[in-house]
């Protein structure tokens, strides 16, 4: 089974890097908007292979990082509800809300369980008929279809004690908002997993209306370098377009079945993004038809607005206007053991990626 080593061959990588250096003339800024890319770029040391005129930026691609502290506060409040079991992906467990983290709440007695899939959460609901099982749904188009499929399954099985607290978001509005806000970006390294679901066509307006280069990329070093090469090519020739580098997985139309179930279960709503504020039609609320499975509908709760901790620059880092090392807290007051901001907590956050894979 050789699906990885051929994408990590030193000679091929050096050769591709040399080709990029050869064709790249302009000062350009390329942004990725996917936590997986953030990690891969730092892990493989991609920036060190590129000429100094190409700057790689990390955008709002980490779901935990862009989500408000209010969401964590809300989960914590629900965890104190009588007979509640909170189920969530491991990523959320250590993210600080206004008054602590879910693992602190768990240690204090709340029933909070880490699951790898929403189906596990549904099993827990079936096994605990006297309890209310709440699944904290987070992520972009990559995880949203899973949540949608879970809700459909729960509906089909007529499960009464299972609801979803959705914080799911979609990517294109954030990518457009950054450009509208004037963040200097010449091209996007578009997310591989999101695009597997949505198809590459969702980025067309970025190329046609905003004149930005877009290449959907895979996650191996050769994928990323080839994507940079394609982006540089587009920018240098002045012909922005949407191209797919990650062709072994991504198509123009995407996964139709996944899109259908997302459309059936979710409805677009305005949502808050760290660094970007409220963006119209950027969040996925649960459709009225499935309100029995919507935690917000079944158990309405008022949670006060929150603000981010002092000194934390996560917002600007998520906009790509600062890099993690520009933050005065980075690697000093803010480390993975004692994170201040969400970008240091999440294993896909830009600050954690810079911290884990720093080379001095």
């Amino acid at each position: 089974m050789k699906y990885q080593s051929e994408y990590r061959k030193k000679e091929d990588i050096q050769q591709l890097a040399a080709q990029i250096r050869k064709i790249s003339k302009k000062e350009i800024r390329l942004m990725e908007v996917c936590g997986g890319h953030t990690m891969a770029i730092q892990k493989f040391g991609i920036p060190s292979l590129l000429p100094p005129n190409i700057k790689l930026l990390s955008g709002p691609g980490c779901p935990v990082c862009v989500t408000s502290r209010k969401f964590i506060d809300q989960i914590m409040a629900y965890s104190r509800m009588k007979e509640a079991i909170i189920t969530t992906f491991g990523d959320l467990i250590r993210v600080p809300g206004s008054s602590g983290t879910l693992d602190e709440e768990k240690a204090a007695g709340a029933d909070i369980r880490m699951v790898y899939s929403i189906l596990e959460a549904i099993d827990i609901a079936v096994q605990n008929p006297g309890k209310q099982v709440i699944f904290a749904g987070i992520g972009f188009e990559t995880t949203a279809p899973g949540t949608a499929a879970g809700i459909l399954q729960a509906a089909q099985k007529k499960i009464k004690n299972f609801t979803v607290l959705s914080s799911h978001k979609i990517m294109p509005p954030a990518m457009a908002a950054l450009i509208d806000d004037g963040v200097p970006i010449d091209g996007y390294i578009a997310p591989g997993h999101v695009s597997t679901i949505t198809g590459s066509h969702i980025y067309e307006p970025l190329a046609t209306d905003y004149k930005k280069a877009v290449v959907v990329s895979g996650f191996e070093p050769l994928d990323l370098l080839q994507s940079v090469y394609m982006l540089v090519n587009q920018i240098e020739s002045g012909k922005p377009a949407v191209e797919i580098q990650y062709k072994r997985v991504v198509t123009e139309a995407g996964n139709q079945k996944a899109q259908e179930i997302m459309n059936e279960v979710f409805t677009l709503r305005a949502d808050w993004w760290r660094g970007l504020g409220v963006l119209e039609k950027s969040g996925l609320g649960i459709n009225k038809k499935f309100s029995d499975f919507d935690t917000n509908f079944r158990f309405p709760m008022d949670i006060p607005e929150t603000s981010d901790p002092k000194g934390c620059r996560c917002g600007e880092i998520l906009r790509g206007t600062l890099t993690p090392t520009d933050c005065s807290l980075f690697a000093k007051a803010c480390t993975p053991v004692n994170p201040v901001g969400s970008c240091m907590v999440s294993s896909e956050g830009a600050c954690q990626a810079y911290y884990r894979y720093r080379n001095n």
Binding site: K9, K10, Q42, F44, G45, Y116, N359
Partner: protein
């Protein structure tokens, strides 16, 4: 009687029955058979190594082993990597009410078998039973005693590690962590990977008998290879350079790590020893290790350097380099 009852831990008749039918029957040896409140051990005129470890792995049975095998091998290995010859073990069980007796017997038989392989005796023990839900099936604590020859007393501290020394491992990384992860029912994930859980004392004693420039040993369990190497370099005047291309990792483990977002460097092992030895002896050590079934994939994976004291740096296979740091939290829950 097919399930463990609270009465089995009461000290009364049920306890006695369990002890004689199960523990005494399988662990059987002359020291244990005295059944005193303490085991009396023959005097040893050498330095002693003493260690303890508790085992709470979930699930208790997994491909390649079970909590019993782990509890024996884990403590045997802690002694062996300290340069000691493991001699005696204690075994204490905290059992959840309702555990099938057949499961307990399977675990005890597995411990007996591993103790026999490792050439050690289980000489004392204890059993407690707690209410359902107060522990998860069974928790086991083992403590172990071994003797240390004077010439090996420095290994535990890692005295005399010099730049140029080689870093060696006896086989593939991350097998245990991935095998246990896949064995969790809730994951619906299958793999062919078996835990590497094994007692390493014979492999190690073979090396200590043949080589004089083994500076340091540690078993790479929780936190994986990365954590052991970080602990080794921390507060020291040397660093370690690891060569990613030389790290032995099974394709199936690489694949599983990609799916779950883990780094094999941090995934747990239960049958892997990291050795730091002189560059002069390293190739011969590898040759000798490969003669043992537990060392067929042995490799030199890095070098002690003076460049970046206190730090472990990985030379990546694509020609970059990065710092290998300790993890903030656990990658996987309860793997040992």
């Amino acid at each position: 009687m097919d399930k463990i009852l609270l009465g089995h831990g009461s000290g009364g008749k049920l306890s006695h029955e369990l002890i004689s039918n199960l523990f005494m029957h399988h662990f059987s040896n002359n020291i244990l058979l005295v059944q005193g409140d303490a085991a009396l051990l023959p005097g040893i005129n050498e330095q002693l190594a003493f260690t303890t470890d508790s085992f709470v792995v979930d699930p208790v049975f997994f491909p390649g082993g079970d909590i019993g095998k782990l509890a024996v091998a884990g403590t045997v290995n802690d002694l062996a990597v300290s340069g000691a010859e493991p001699l005696y073990l204690s075994a204490s069980f905290i059992i959840e009410e309702g555990l099938p007796v057949s499961d307990l017997e399977r675990i005890v038989v597995s411990m007996t078998e591993e103790a026999r392989k490792a050439g050690i005796q289980i000489v004392t023990g204890d059993t407690k039973v707690v209410n359902r839900g107060k522990c998860d099936k069974v928790f086991i604590n083992t403590s172990g005693i071994g003797r240390v020859k004077p010439q090996h007393a420095g290994i535990v501290k890692g005295n005399g590690i010099y730049p140029g020394d080689k870093v060696i491992i006896n086989g593939t990384l991350g097998d245990h962590g991935i095998a246990v992860l896949a064995a969790r029912e809730s994951l619906h994930f299958e793999t062919t990977v078996h835990s590497d859980c094994a007692s390493l004392n014979q492999l190690i004693s073979g090396l200590l008998g043949s080589f004089s420039e083994i500076r340091f040993m540690r078993d790479a369990t929780r936190g994986g290879l990365a954590t052991v190497l970080c602990e080794t370099t921390m507060h020291n005047d040397f660093g370690i350079r690891l060569d990613e291309a030389a790290l032995p990792v099974k394709e199936a483990v690489v694949g599983a790590c990609e799916i779950f977002g883990y780094d094999p460097l941090y995934v747990a092992n239960e049958g892997k020893v990291v050795i730091i030895a002189s560059a002069a002896e390293a190739p011969q050590i590898i040759k000798k290790m490969k003669e043992n079934p537990l060392g067929t994939d042995s490799a030199i994976i890095g070098e002690v350097v003076s460049d970046h004291p206190g730090k472990v740096v990985l030379e990546t296979s694509i020609g970059g380099s990065r710092i290998v740091d300790m993890l903030a939290g656990e990658q996987l829950p309860r793997i040992c």
